[in-house]
């Protein structure tokens, strides 16, 4: 564990070096402990793959006091159980009309589109981080056989609900946005809905399983096709 000053009201806590369920579980447990330990002095927090950015009220406390309380809270932490975290199932309509890069990705991998789908839906993912855009959840790790680099030229418009792969990460686009990930399907579940409570179906540390659905089920669940 390493704790560094990151800014006038920020400390950065590193809990590992790599992307793994064990590190993610540590991040999740530490985030909860820090929240309790800092109470009102905590302004915001960004848990990510192997780190937590802690933002505190710099006029009410200081970096030394916050470091001390964070270290104390972490010292009492038990080794986190990496099987914790809610399980969330997200339906996906995998098809060329829903995932423009499905065929190219399969070809690159020397697999059939069906095998790509099987590998993508056959893995349980963990929510490692949320960022880039509201509700954008970074899920990992994608099976090495279907990992694919970002597109050389990002698309100007990726549709809402697009299920995509970049390297060993996968995600569901929460809103229409530019993007360079490889599109393989569409998910009808809204990943970010400001009017809903909660506004996201997942949070950092949750486990996600994709469930293949067909076209009619996708449309019945409210999915859209342009």
């Amino acid at each position: 564990m390493e704790l560094h000053s990151a800014g006038e009201n920020a400390l950065m806590l590193y809990l590992g070096q790599e992307t793994s369920p064990a590190v993610a579980a540590r991040v999740q447990a530490a985030a909860a402990a820090i929240e309790t330990a800092l109470g009102d002095h905590l302004v915001d927090m960004v848990p990510s793959y192997a780190s937590i950015l802690i933002l505190y009220d710099a006029l009410a406390t200081d970096h030394l006091a916050v470091s001390h309380r964070v270290r104390q809270a972490l010292a009492q932490l038990q080794e986190a159980d990496s099987s914790l975290g809610r399980q969330v199932v997200l339906p996906v309509y995998y098809a060329l009309e829903a995932g423009a890069d499905l065929e190219a990705l399969a070809q690159r991998a020397g697999l059939s589109p069906e095998q790509v789908i099987e590998l993508h839906a056959g893995t349980e993912y963990r929510v490692y981080a949320i960022g880039f855009a509201p509700g954008f959840a970074y899920l990992g790790q994608v099976d090495e056989r279907i990992a694919a680099p970002r597109l050389a030229t990002p698309r100007l418009k990726v549709p809402r609900g697009a299920v995509a792969i970049a390297d060993r990460q996968t995600a569901v686009y929460p809103a229409v946005s530019p993007g360079g990930w490889n599109l393989i399907g569409r998910c009808p579940t809204r990943m970010f809905d400001p009017s809903a409570t909660p506004c996201m179906p997942v949070s950092v540390g949750d486990r996600v399983q994709f469930e293949p659905i067909d076209r009619s089920r996708y449309l019945a669940l409210g999915g859209e096709l342009e």
């Binding site: 800014g7 006038e8 790599e18 927090m45 990510s48 793959y49 970096h63």
Partner: protein, 312 residues
């Protein structure tokens, strides 16, 4: 009861102090790029510190009052007219229904704050009215002001017509020194690279906006190409592969995978955000202790500044 937007100007946004506590769902802060000028706007008007005002970037805005109230403009030197009569900034003015308020283009600085007595009444989203266009969140419709927008506000009959003495006003120069708390991946920048970073002048490039200011100058090399994506605080200075620093501001993404050499003080990024392309930036290191002291000192100095009052 409202102020009606006749002409929104280049970029005018409703802002309160910003959105805090929503990073975990990927929402950034938003809020005023120059919190010092913003907070004076509300203090002069005797508003709550988090009251919503309009951040006018570069100028060119015209509004019509549809209510009797009081307004105040602070920040960049944009000529303020109320019905064709020039009025002082950093001063509370009475306006009546039908009056036209116009803000010309900034002569110095580039962000001004137009506040109204009791603030604009905007329903908060995720706890804040701050507009972040990239997220389509905040303000009236998640976007910059448009012609015809009605900015709701209350009718106010009484308010002290306070102003700040000209000697207490901040000066907006065309150069800024950013005090930087070394942090994040600082250890991965060699001593030579750090010396280069702290001893050369950088210039504000054309690519500067509410997300961040990209600077141009001697390239800084890091011995890391990328890092596991991690949280980014306001003021963090990111060094991408081309070595040109980007100072990340209010509308930055909350996580990212570029190495960072440290973070600039908010007191100084407020001045950075008043610079335009071509402005000069220097960096100076400051310890976390020094930064803490500087924040408290600035806070107590601001509280001690006296506001004067027009009576007639």
């Amino acid at each position: 009861m409202s102020l009606e937007v006749i002409q929104p100007g280049i970029l005018s946004l409703l802002q309160d102090r910003g959105r805090f506590g929503a990073h975990r769902i990927g929402l950034t802060n938003g809020g005023p790029l120059d919190p010092e000028a913003f907070s004076w706007c509300n203090r002069l008007l005797d508003n709550p510190a988090n009251a919503t005002a309009v951040e006018v970037s570069f100028g060119g805005a015209r509004l019509r009052a549809r209510v009797d109230t009081f307004i105040c403009v602070t920040g960049a030197a944009m000529p303020l007219h109320i019905n064709d009569r020039e009025q002082a900034l950093w001063t509370v003015h009475r306006v009546g229904a039908g009056d036209e308020i116009s803000l010309g283009f900034a002569e110095r600085g580039c962000r001004a704050y137009l506040g109204v007595a009791d603030g604009f009444t905007v329903a908060p989203s995720f706890g804040s009215s701050a507009t972040v266009m990239r997220e389509s969140i905040g303000g009236l419709h998640g976007d910059k002001l448009r012609s015809g927008d009605l900015l709701p506000c209350a009718a106010v009959e009484q308010r002290k017509r306070r102003y700040l003495h000209p000697a207490s006003l901040p000066h907006y120069h065309d150069q800024v020194t950013l005090r930087v708390i070394p942090g994040y991946q600082q250890a991965h920048f060699s001593r030579l690279q750090q010396r280069r970073f702290f001893s050369h002048a950088y210039m504000v490039s054309e690519r500067c906006d509410r997300m961040g200011y990209r600077l141009e100058g001697p390239a800084i090399q890091c011995d890391l190409e990328g890092i596991l994506s991690e949280g980014i605080c306001a003021g963090a200075i990111q060094i991408p592969a081309d070595g040109q620093p980007i100072v990340l501001l209010n509308d930055r993404q909350t996580i990212g995978g570029y190495p960072k050499i440290g973070s600039a003080l908010s007191l100084d990024t407020a001045r950075l955000a008043q610079l335009r392309p071509g402005g000069t930036v220097h960096f100076a290191p400051i310890s976390p202790h020094g930064a803490h002291n500087a924040l408290h000192l600035a806070h107590s100095q601001a509280l001690r500044k006296t506001m004067l009052e027009h009576r007639d």
